[in-house]
């Protein structure tokens, strides 16, 4: 069985309620990413066919939205906020420290797939600036010591 074949059962489960409904592309892609951790490129033609779309249209949507990834990411997604409130309260410094701690740049994944680092323009938790999120956990008022402690707890 090739990669796609192993993914098909889960994939069809996601697609079934939306067959022939091109408007559902984004929710479908969101579910696919939720299940597989990313959007495997092999699945793309199948998704297109099921929703009655051209592969180019699907590819266009995947590459337009920053939420979608076509490659696997780490187990722990570390998101550093680069919104204005965080910026004004030292967000750049936070990013620098996180980059140093994880030895990763924005968008990179560690070789052991434990961490992925990304930045986002605003998480809406501005009162706690500067903010860092790991998976779904929010951490506010970051400083170098706190960052170190928090990241270590995910190692």
């Amino acid at each position: 069985m090739n990669q796609l074949e192993t993914m098909l059962p889960k994939l069809n489960e996601i697609l079934n309620p939306y067959r022939s409904n091109p408007e559902a592309l984004i929710p479908v892609l969101q579910e696919v990413q939720e299940v597989f951790g990313y959007i495997p490129p092999e699945t793309m033609p199948h998704i297109a066919e099921s929703l009655k779309l051209f592969p180019s249209q699907v590819q266009g949507v995947i590459t337009f939205y920053s939420q979608f990834y076509t490659y696997p990411r780490g187990k722990n997604i570390v998101t550093v906020c680069r919104g204005t409130a965080c910026h004004v309260r030292g967000g750049t410094g936070v990013l620098r420290v996180v980059q140093r701690e994880l030895n990763l740049k924005d968008g990179e994944t560690s070789p052991d797939y434990n961490f992925t680092l990304e930045t986002v323009a605003c998480l809406g938790a501005c009162a706690q600036a500067p903010v860092m999120v790991v998976n779904r956990n929010y951490y506010g008022k970051m400083n170098p010591k706190k960052i170190e402690t928090i990241l270590n707890s995910y190692r």
């Binding site: 408007e23 919104g83 323009a121 501005c126 903010v131 929010y138």
Partner: protein, 1040 residues
């Protein structure tokens, strides 16, 4: 719960719910919003649940997990009902005490209350806390009182009462009419009249109409929509129901951005519950009206907040805007008429219907009705969500509600409207905020993000920051935005890296305006706003970056090695000399200072220390006491280095003349001598030092210190000719004729300004002008003051005059200043010392007339002032309060209201070009006048300013004169330099974790003792203190 089949059912249900509520039952309303979760509220809620259970009080006490209360800075917080006591900054350890003392015994726990920052009073009740007092929480009224996951809480507070009324007693037309008359405008940013949009949609042909709620809150720094969605989702649903009814829509979407998973979750729960009760879905409340709401999640694209891009995204496509017309109201989702409104817009609708349009239109300004929620973030004490009526001023929001700027810093600007908005500088603090007033000044309301910036924010960096965001989010469809943002970003990045070029400002302006006019959608049309508005109001910052390679806020990494050095006008390598002091190398430290400043001992006593205000250590606990460290090193040098230094070798032929032996003149001479020139300084007085030599009292700057520093400079080969004024007998031209190849005029600003009021007669006994008074005392002339002395003014001369008068035997010394203490140019420590010595201050008072009898002073008439509108500088203009005059009896009056340069020594036929206000016109970069070879600088050109500016001007002139004499026409470039990097052994910077360590206090003589004579007040650091203080430096320069 049973399905409600009519409006009456709803009413009955509400009555039932209300009856079940016991208003006297203690209830803890605890904020469960994301912001408070980050601060650990989950543990607190857990602790409450467990404690109440443990004590068997489950039936007697309620805990309700509510949405955002707004006062995010003080979270985790809770309001205890029925009393409405506010407890803030809670930890799980506080819980047992709260349960025992407050919930059971009804006692208030003082330490958990909010303390008023000024009065220091503890405030018990929520509505008395200043943060809440000035707000008008209309949309947010339920937020702190309901559990957003329980529809019954919402219904008990009149929830769904508005749609019920609309369905039972209003036609769709009447609903639209009501919303139109109320004057509700779109809260997403553009402010389009909501009723009108509904009307257009209703009037568009076709049965199928869509309603979309834009919950794509993408503005960085804005989180009010999130808090409404998470804290009171039913409010939004109800607004959508009313809109749907009004325009005849049966299908609606809520488009929530991907980054708000909790909001999506809460909405889903709310929709489920509403459907279950028949308040949403088919045949609502038993009528023919049906409306279904689906949730669509965004996938991370800021541009999808734009309505046509949003529609494309709902349709499963790339979120690219399209051209309008046709507007969505005519042709939107799937080609059908679609009305898109923002979350906050929908959240306002209920109160319009329930309270009526007259009530609503009474709030706000003429064209902007109702309230607006602002997310107040950035450099502000009370971060959080603030809801105020339109027309509230920025000053009220930032200072009264927001609590002002932390660490006593100065307000610089507020960024409103996020990346689409513009900055609002201090001069507009009294502007009533509404849609139109903001647009007029180049900003916009936007979604309501209000980011406060202080003096440590670089406006160029801010513009670059916003462009980075919009450039990344630009969809790329239209060339102006795709290419324009890229080019603007490139230029801004170059400027912040110190690679700005001549013409960059004009380029930015041109590109920005072009993009505004030609971009396809709102993103492109507004993205130049941050650039254009910062160019309008902070052009000098751009120019400093480009022309002088300086970042005034000391932020731009590429140009700033350490903020202290960058901010010092003389560019002294502060971290290095501080480290040398920590290492015990005091002589080396002093020599390092002398590379940029030949007055270390004097500056160590009286410098205004801009470095300390930017010291990063100050973010942690308190800034390093840089000034006092400098004094310690210099004093040590003078005590321990016996031999005078040898003269600098003369390697150049040319001789340079300097007019005035003040700090600017002597610094110029010193650095010219160091470069190898022969210099002669012509000084009119018998003593050197300028203002330093004659105007600063001994108790701040002893004569011996001045003499030592000047002797050092002279030993280096600088010739000073005393009692040799340059005037009409011996002119600047004469100097040139004598063979001086260049002349630097640094004659200072020593002409006392007059008060300009009636009765001010020269020669009046008892009337002494401040500067003259100080000079006379310092040079030893006999001066006496009466028992009651009055000083007019608030600057250094005024302060020094007051304290000198005290030491000369005055019994009462009163200082009258027309502004407030914060506006006084003197340092905080000087002011405190004056108060300690018993000087009495009267603020917001101005003299109107001097009264005398014969030739003797009797007193002055004064008038009280109040603060009026904000001036361009950001300060408020004092205006006299009519009828508030009063008389003050005085024996001596010392006006000290400023000094001006005195150009009268220049012959009338001098070719030197004058500037507008009586000073000489000089090139700011080279300090050259219009006559080649003649330069001018220091107070003489700028008017009175701080010592370190004069010293920096002196050095700049030396560099310029050197270039001139070598026929080098290039610009003077003064960059931050490190001559050698000193190791950071023994410093705080080397440690893993920096501990808080208070700043060392400089020991001083006690006030009662020191006012008896003119002894120096401050004793200076001991060696131990100096080493410990120097070890607090974080060595920001080593981050490079």
């Amino acid at each position: 719960m049973e399905r409600l089949k009519s409006s009456k059912d709803l009413l009955n249900f509400r009555q039932e719910l209300i009856q079940q509520i016991d208003p006297a039952k203690p209830c803890v309303m605890i904020c469960g919003d994301t912001g408070c979760i980050v601060r650990g509220v989950e543990e607190v809620i857990d602790a409450f649940t467990k404690e109440i259970e443990r004590q068997g009080l489950k039936d007697k006490i309620d805990i309700k997990r509510t949405g955002c209360h707004g006062f995010c800075e003080r979270g985790p917080l809770a309001v205890i009902l029925p009393e409405e006591i506010l407890y803030q900054q809670l930890t799980k350890e506080d819980v047992p005490e709260i349960v025992k003392e407050t919930l059971i015994k009804k006692n208030v726990i003082g330490r958990l209350l909010y303390t008023h920052p000024v009065t220091e009073k503890k405030i018990i009740y929520e509505h008395e806390v200043p943060f809440y007092e000035k707000q008008k929480r209309n949309v947010l009224s339920d937020n702190g009182r309901i559990d957003p996951t329980k529809i019954e809480d919402y219904i008990a507070r009149d929830g769904y009462g508005a749609i019920s009324r609309a369905l039972s007693s209003m036609t769709p037309e009447e609903v639209i009419d009501c919303v139109e008359k109320a004057g509700l405008r779109g809260r997403g940013g553009a402010g389009f009249p909501t009723g009108t949009k509904w009307r257009f949609t209703r009037q568009s042909p076709g049965e199928e109409k869509y309603l979309i709620c834009n919950a794509d809150e993408g503005d960085p720094g804005a989180f009010m929509d999130r808090s409404v969605l998470e804290g009171n989702p039913h409010l939004v649903l109800e607004g959508m129901l009313i809109a749907a009814y009004a325009m005849g829509s049966t299908e609606g979407y809520i488009y929530v951005r991907a980054e708000y998973p909790l909001a999506t979750k809460r909405l889903k729960i709310a929709i489920n519950q509403a459907e279950g009760l028949g308040l949403l879905g088919s045949k609502i409340l038993g009528t023919d009206f049906s409306f279904y709401i689906k949730i669509k999640e965004g996938a991370g694209a800021f541009v999808c907040g734009e309505e046509t891009a949003l529609i494309a995204s709902v349709e499963g496509k790339r979120g690219m805007p399209r051209i309008r017309p046709p507007f969505p109201a005519q042709s939107g989702l799937k080609g059908k008429p679609t009305c898109i409104n923002n979350v906050e817009t929908f959240a306002n609708v209920r109160s319009v219907i329930l309270n009526g349009w007259e009530w609503y239109s009474n709030i706000g300004t003429e064209k902007s009705k109702g309230t607006k929620i602002f997310s107040l973030t950035g450099r502000i004490n009370n971060t959080g969500l603030v809801e105020v009526p339109m027309g509230t001023t920025l000053r009220e929001v930032i200072f009264d509600i927001g609590g002002g700027i932390p660490k006593g810093r100065n307000f610089k600007a507020a960024q409103m409207g996020g990346p689409s908005g513009g900055c609002v500088p201090a001069r507009f603090l009294d502007l009533p905020i509404d849609y139109d007033s903001l647009r007029e000044i180049g900003s916009m309301m936007g979604s309501g993000g209000l980011i406060v910036l202080d003096e440590n924010t670089c406006m160029v960096d801010l513009a670059r920051f916003f462009l980075t965001f919009t450039q990344d989010e630009s969809c790329g469809k239209c060339a102006p935005c795709r290419l324009g943002t890229l080019q603007m970003l490139k230029i801004l990045t170059r400027i912040t890296r110190g690679e700005g070029r001549e013409g960059d400002i004009e380029r930015l302006q041109k590109i920005g305006e072009a993009v505004k006019k030609s971009a396809l959608c709102g993103l492109g049309q507004t993205c130049p706003n941050p650039v254009l508005s910062t160019l309008t109001y902070f052009r000098e910052e751009y120019e400093a970056h480009i022309k002088e390679h300086k970042c005034p806020a000391a932020v731009c990494d590429a140009m700033v090695i350490s903020a202290c050095q960058h901010t010092c006008p003389a560019g002294i390598d502060v971290p290095s000399y501080v480290t040398l002091i920590a290492q015990g190398k005091y002589v080396e430290a002093t020599e390092l200072i002398r590379e940029r400043n030949p007055f270390p001992a004097i500056c160590g006593r009286i410098c205004s220390h801009p470095c300390e205000f930017k010291c990063r250590r100050g973010e942690l606990d308190a800034p390093v006491a840089i000034k006092s460290l400098k004094r310690f090193a210099a004093d040590w040098y003078f005590e321990n280095v016996g031999e005078p230094p040898s003269p600098f070798p003369v390697t150049r032929q040319e001789r340079v003349a300097i007019v005035g032996a003040g700090p600017a003149g002597l610094s110029c001479a010193y650095f010219l001598a160091k470069t190898g020139y022969q210099t002669t300084v012509f000084e009119a007085l018998p003593v050197a030092g300028g203002m330093l030599g004659v105007a600063i009292p001994d108790f701040r700057l002893p004569k011996e210190v001045i003499e030592e520093e000047i002797a050092h400079i002279r030993a280096r080969g600088v010739e000073i000719r005393y009692n040799t004024p340059i005037n009409t007998n011996y002119t600047v031209d004469d100097l040139k004729k004598e063979g001086y190849a260049a002349v630097f005029i640094a004659a200072g600003a020593q002409r006392s300004s007059q008060l300009g009021i009636p009765g001010e007669v020269e020669g009046l006994e008892g009337l002494l002008y401040g500067l003259r008074f100080l000079v006379d005392v310092k040079v030893g002339r006999p001066v006496s003051v009466g028992e009651k002395v009055g000083i007019i003014g608030g600057g250094n001369v005024a302060m020094d005059s007051a304290r000198t008068a005290l030491r000369l035997g005055a019994k009462e010394v009163h200082v009258f200043y027309r502004r407030t203490p914060e506006d006084m140019p003197v340092t905080e420590s000087e002011y405190q010392e004056a108060i300690e010595e018993g000087i009495q201050f009267h603020f917001l008072v101005s003299p109107t007339r001097i009264v005398s009898e014969g030739w003797k002073l009797k007193g002055i008439h004064c008038i009280r002032m109040s603060l009026g509108e904000t001036e361009a500088s950001g300060r408020r203009r004092p205006i006299p309060v009519e009828g508030s005059e009063f008389f003050v009896e005085l024996h001596t009056l010392i006006p000290s209201v400023g000094q001006a340069p005195d150009l009268s020594f220049l012959p009338p036929d001098s070719k030197l070009e004058r500037a507008r206000w009586g000073t000489l016109q000089v090139d700011p970069n080279s300090l050259s006048t219009n006559v080649p070879g003649i330069f001018a600088g220091g107070d003489f050109v700028t008017g009175p300013t701080y010592l370190i500016h004069a010293i920096a001007a002196g050095r700049r002139a030396a560099l310029a004169i050197d270039k001139y004499l070598r026929k080098d026409t290039s610009r003077i470039e003064i960059r931050d330099e490190k001559v050698h990097v000193v190791d950071d052994v023994h410093l705080a910077a080397g440690e893993e974790m920096v501990e808080m360590k208070p700043r060392q206090k400089v020991p001083a003589h006690r006030p009662e003792e020191r006012i008896r004579d003119f002894r120096e007040i401050e004793k200076g650091f001991s060696e131990k203190q100096a080493k410990e203080e120097a070890a607090r430096c974080l060595r920001c320069d080593l981050e490079r």
